[in-house]
């Protein structure tokens, strides 16, 4: 076992930084996009995360790099204090469009559009967990880190959120497997 040397050579820190950060860049970007509205802001957030990661790489114990980076990003995001406001989902015209499902409700594009509208109708808390697990493809444990809540909370919020989406789709007339229509 090698003792952690806080005065490690800069080259070592750079190598560790590269090894830890590079494999997680796509995930970080996907998660960042669920946290801020503009793509450019998402990139900025990932850049800030990388800078902070490099600054504290010497104190990182090497366990769960993704969780470590997501914690840094969450804190960076809180500091940046930017909130996501998806403009498309706030557009009443888009919401109104959902009220009339197409004849063939399983046309994938239309269904996906309806899903997007349903997602926009969820509360901020429910939408965030769906975005992290289903869109950014995080595990429950990693989503819990980003949200700063226990894993059980992720599980229950996700379950309620998907049920809500299901109800919204049902109400809008989309025929789902097992629908009573």
């Amino acid at each position: 076992l090698v003792a952690v040397d806080n005065q490690a050579e800069p080259a070592d820190a750079s190598l560790r930084f590269t090894a830890v950060v590079m494999p997680e860049l796509e995930v970080l970007l996907r998660v960042a996009r669920t946290m801020v509205s503009r793509p450019a802001d998402a990139e900025d957030l990932v850049q800030d995360t990388m800078v902070r990661a490099l600054q504290s790489i010497d104190t990182f114990d090497g366990a769960r790099p993704r969780g470590w980076l997501l914690t840094i990003m969450r804190n960076a995001h809180i500091n940046r204090n930017r909130r996501r406001r998806p403009s498309l989902l706030d557009d009443p015209a888009v919401v109104a469009e959902m009220a009339t499902p197409p004849a063939d409700a399983y046309v994938e594009e239309m269904f996906d559009a309806a899903i997007e509208v349903a997602l926009g109708r969820l509360s901020e808390r429910h939408r965030a967990v769906v975005e992290l697990v289903d869109i950014a493809r995080l595990s429950y444990a990693d989503a819990a880190i980003v949200l700063g809540v226990p894993v059980g909370t992720v599980m229950s919020r996700l379950s309620r959120a998907r049920k809500e989406i299901r109800t919204l789709l049902d109400t809008a007339g989309y025929q789902l497997p097992g629908s009573q229509r």
Binding site: F17, E26, D112
Partner: protein, 100 residues
């Protein structure tokens, strides 16, 4: 007195129990034993099977929203990471928002 009908194994889940973990099952978040118990329940329960199908369709549609990761953005970020690691961008001088 002998009872007719299927006898449940002591391990078998009820619909209510299965419903509680169905989405974790869908997300691959159950341990092996839990997943096996849900699978066994799904083999004999059409209602829960349909529920799983609904959530699978919804999850798949949500997942399609993440298709098309911005390769250019990822490349820019890789290049930034390289610059940071090589010292071409000085982390100490990077304008982080206050409160870092």
């Amino acid at each position: 007195m002998r009872r007719f009908g299927r006898r449940r194994s002591p391990d078998a889940l009820t619909c209510r129990e299965a419903a509680k973990v169905l989405q974790a099952y869908l997300d691959g978040e159950l341990d092996e034993i839990g997943a096996r118990r849900v699978s066994a329940h799904l083999e004999v329960c059409r209602k829960c099977g349909l529920d799983l199908e609904v959530y699978t369709v919804i999850k798949a549609a949500l997942g399609r929203r993440s298709v098309g990761d911005d390769d250019l953005a990822v490349r820019r970020l890789r290049s930034f990471a390289d610059d940071l690691a090589a010292g071409r961008v000085a982390a100490a001088d990077w304008p982080l928002d206050s409160g870092a």
